[in-house]
């Protein structure tokens, strides 16, 4: 019994996903649980998933990036402008846009790390700035009529599996490899766990923290490319509101708000929980505003859980010490 509890504790995120899926299956039967709907959920989750993995790097090392939504918007409009009004071939347009996005990630990280402002405040400022830039680049209006080839990242399938899902999988595998197997990856955990101890152990903590934003920027770039394909246009508001959703997914996935703890696979499960929930609620005709409330409640629940767990472990730790 105790063993079962331990397993449940260890895999609580996965358990939540299963329970959720079971619930929707009971209520809606095959309308929810059929291969097409599941693939739809996966496809809809892939952009958020890639962004969340980037966010995870920031949070592991003790930061936060609330500019991810604006970064995605920026990529869709710069790509679109490059392709349409500047007639640059779409692969080049995407490459340059991803580069711009990666750079904006670096800038965010650089400012936050060097000035030691709160990551939340610094990235919030960047969110507003980059969103403004996105609107200026496209003149405030969506850009349509993109070249045919450019939408493949958002809409193509390989077999039955949508390409974005495969990209998410690849990003997850590579990220997990970096974080678990390389010393570079370990440094994110170590820096997030105790930045001063890490610095005094000879780790270049500023570089690691800045790198986490660079990675986040790069992954937002990729997410932006997929987004461009999915909406077949450059949308200055494409990523609007996704910052919070990302944060929710990452915290749901067990990444500590204090840094230093978290696994890629769990974050992906966190993303799927949100995907299933949104899909299920939509099938059940729950209106958009109620969905907002639910999403907010989930976020609140996740952060409270994270915080309460810490308080509890501190308390028991103190008891042990005394």
């Amino acid at each position: 019994m105790k063993k079962a509890l331990d397993i449940l504790k260890k895999h609580s995120v996965e358990a939540v996903l299963l329970v959720l899926m079971l619930m929707f299956t009971i209520v809606k039967g095959t309308i929810f649980l059929n291969i097409n709907n599941i693939i739809t959920i996966l496809r809809q989750s892939s952009i958020l998933g890639i962004m969340s993995i980037g966010m995870m790097f920031c949070m592991l090392s003790g930061g936060l990036n609330l500019a991810v939504g604006s970064m995605v918007s920026l990529v869709t409009v710069t790509s679109a402008v490059f392709m349409t009004s500047m007639n640059i071939p779409w692969p080049v347009a995407f490459l340059v846009s991803v580069a711009i996005c990666t750079f904006s990630g670096w800038a965010t990280g650089f400012i936050i790390v060097k000035t030691r402002i709160w990551p939340m405040i610094g990235s919030l400022a960047m969110q507003t700035i980059l969103s403004g830039v996105a609107y200026i680049v496209c003149g405030g209006l969506p850009i349509y009529d993109l070249p045919k080839g450019s939408i493949i990242f958002g809409q193509a399938n390989i077999g039955v599996i949508p390409l974005p899902v495969i990209i998410l999988l690849a990003v997850a595998v590579v990220s997990a490899f970096i974080l678990n197997k390389t010393y570079f990856g370990r440094h994110f955990y170590v820096s997030g766990s105790n930045v001063e101890a890490a610095r005094l152990s000879g780790i270049n903590t500023s570089r690691i923290c800045i790198m986490s934003y660079v990675i986040s920027g790069f992954l937002c770039g990729i997410a932006g490319v997929i987004m461009t394909g999915r909406v077949s246009s450059g949308q200055p508001a494409a990523g609007k509101g996704m910052d919070m959703t990302c944060l929710t997914a990452v915290v749901l996935g067990g990444v500590s708000m204090n840094g230093g703890e978290g696994k890629v696979s769990k974050v992906v499960v966190g993303v799927f929980i949100l995907g299933v929930l949104k899909n299920g609620m939509t099938i059940m005709n729950v209106d958009e505003y109620t969905q907002m409330i639910v999403e907010g409640l989930i976020f609140l629940f996740a952060v409270c859980f994270d915080s309460l767990q810490r308080i509890l472990s501190e308390r028991t730790g103190k008891k042990k010490a005394a």
Binding site: K181, T182, Y183, V190, S193, A197, R199, L200, S201, G202
Partner: protein, 493 residues
């Protein structure tokens, strides 16, 4: 004169330590009563008992003729006991007047009557010979003036007993004179002062009586005029070395670390050489600049000037990374905040400094990492069932060994240990001493900082003594005596 305060047979026991052992002391009305003793003698604990910050296990506190078994912060304040600590309790962005009356009101109603507030504050400040405007902001004041605001705050609350903890530590000489004037003024008004200081000269200038504490007990209380300095030091030290320190074969090699005119971070230019196989001690009072000095060497804080040579080669150390690369390891005094990663596994903690070398193409060799962790777990006898255990679950002594292990793993040539035995039990202490000996015999150069006098005299070969950020003396092992160390530490050349 009658007594305003009497503490009788106060005992305070912490797990494993008797912090106060049947301590009795009295303070007369209008008296300046100095309280002295080495670090850890129990002065702070006693003060905390008097102000009600901690509850004693036994004993009685008599204040103004009434007996209490314990104080509370609210009660002691009501009774007119105020303490001025080294860290001020002031709101920096707020005016002097508002700070003086913080937590109390000068007028009724919800709106502050600033006119009254300023005039009341001015009245309090009139006690002092110096001019402070009640309207100026605290953050614009010098440290000395901030201290005056603290004293004014105590006066405004009608304090009858003011406790001053190392009040002259942040002051210049002129400011010290000024403070003494104020203390005399307080005396005239019948206010009593408990005055804690490490600077023995000051006691003769300002105090009426002196109480010396050592190892949680009151050793002696006498009129200041009946003491001379040597006697005070004798009472403070008053014992031989009673802990055993393991013997070591001392053989010195080449200089491994040379520091030339290194300064910054409140440390005046310091030069010294550390040889292979040598254990060098840094002694001095808390705040003398010992930790600051080693942090400069390690590149943890920016330096203003000076050079560092490692094995004879000048080495630029501007950040901890440089220090680690050139073979310096620092076990910092604040183990939990800076030494170990409490939320990470023991294995991660041990290998953090050499992870890069345990990796090929950036990929960590799991087996090599594990072997390394196992090697140092055994070498240091870290008691844990598993290397995957979180470091935070270990005892203090084992945590310290983990913090040390990472520097052994990285093959440091110079090891700096800042308070290596703070907060760890006797058995673990002995293990650390033996380890220091073993490492020195293996040819490491070791710098040890310790506030425990016996310890630093017992384990080191040579001692640098710092006082107020400057090197005030160097002692070779044969010259060691607690009296001399204390003399240098209190600032005498």
């Amino acid at each position: 004169m009658s007594n305003i305060l009497e503490v009788k047979n106060i005992t305070k026991i912490y797990p494993g330590v008797v912090a106060l052992n049947r301590v009795s002391m009295d303070v007369r009305e209008g008296e300046v009563h100095a309280l002295i003793g080495e670090n850890g003698a129990g002065k702070s604990t006693l003060i905390k008992v008097i102000t009600g910050a901690i509850e004693p296990n036994d004993g009685e506190i008599v204040y103004g003729g009434k007996s209490y078994s314990k104080m509370s912060p609210e009660l002691s304040r009501q009774l007119g006991i105020e303490a001025i600590y080294q860290e001020f309790n002031l709101a920096p962005a707020v005016s002097v007047a508002e700070n003086i009356y913080i937590g109390s009101k000068v007028n009724d109603g919800a709106v502050i009557d600033y006119k009254k507030l300023y005039s009341e504050a001015a009245k309090v400040l009139d006690n002092f010979t110096v001019e402070i405007s009640p309207k100026s902001l605290v953050k614009d004041l010098t440290v000395a003036y901030m201290q005056l605001v603290e004293i004014a705050k105590a006066i405004a609350r009608n304090a009858r007993l003011i406790i001053m903890d190392e009040p002259t530590a942040p002051l210049t000489e002129d400011e010290v004179g000024n403070l003494f004037e104020i203390i005399k003024e307080l005396k005239k008004q019948g206010v009593s002062v408990i005055y804690i200081s490490h600077r023995l000269d000051e006691l003769f200038a300002v105090s009426d009586r002196v109480t010396v504490m050592r190892d949680g007990e009151v050793i002696v209380t006498k009129d200041t005029k009946d003491f001379n300095k040597e006697q005070l030091i004798y009472h403070m030290v008053g014992r031989g070395l009673n802990e055993t320190f393991p013997e070591r074969n001392v053989t010195y090699g080449e200089p491994v670390l040379e520091v030339k005119e290194l300064c910054g971070n409140g440390v005046a230019p310091v030069s010294f050489t550390l040889r292979k196989g040598e254990v060098l001690g840094l002694a001095g009072l808390v705040g003398a600049g010992r930790t600051e000095l080693v942090r400069l060497i390690f590149g943890a804080d920016p330096k203003d000037g000076g050079k560092i040579f490692i094995e004879g080669k000048e080495t630029a150390i501007n950040k901890p990374q440089d220090a680690v690369r050139s073979g310096i390891g620092l076990v910092s005094e604040d183990r939990k905040a800076q030494g170990v990663f409490l939320r990470m596994s023991i294995k991660t903690n041990i290998t953090v400094t050499i992870l890069e070398k345990l990796a090929k193409w950036g990929v960590i060799n799991r087996r090599a990492e594990n072997d390394c962790a196992v090697e140092y777990r055994e070498a240091l006898n870290i008691k844990t069932p598993s290397l995957e255990q979180l470091a935070g679950n270990l005892s203090g002594g084992n945590q310290q060994k983990v913090a040390l292990a990472k520097w052994l793993a990285s093959k440091s040539k110079v090891l700096i240990l800042d308070e290596p035995t703070r907060g760890i039990d006797v058995g673990a202490k002995q293990e650390i001493y033996q380890l220091i000996n073993r490492l020195a015999e293996e040819g490491l150069g070791i710098i040890v900082i310790s506030s425990e006098m016996e310890e630093i005299l017992g384990i080191t070969d040579r001692l640098l003594i710092l006082s107020e950020g400057r090197l005030s003396g160097t002692l070779m092992k044969e010259e060691y005596s607690q009296t001399t160390v204390l003399k240098y530490a209190s600032g005498e050349q």
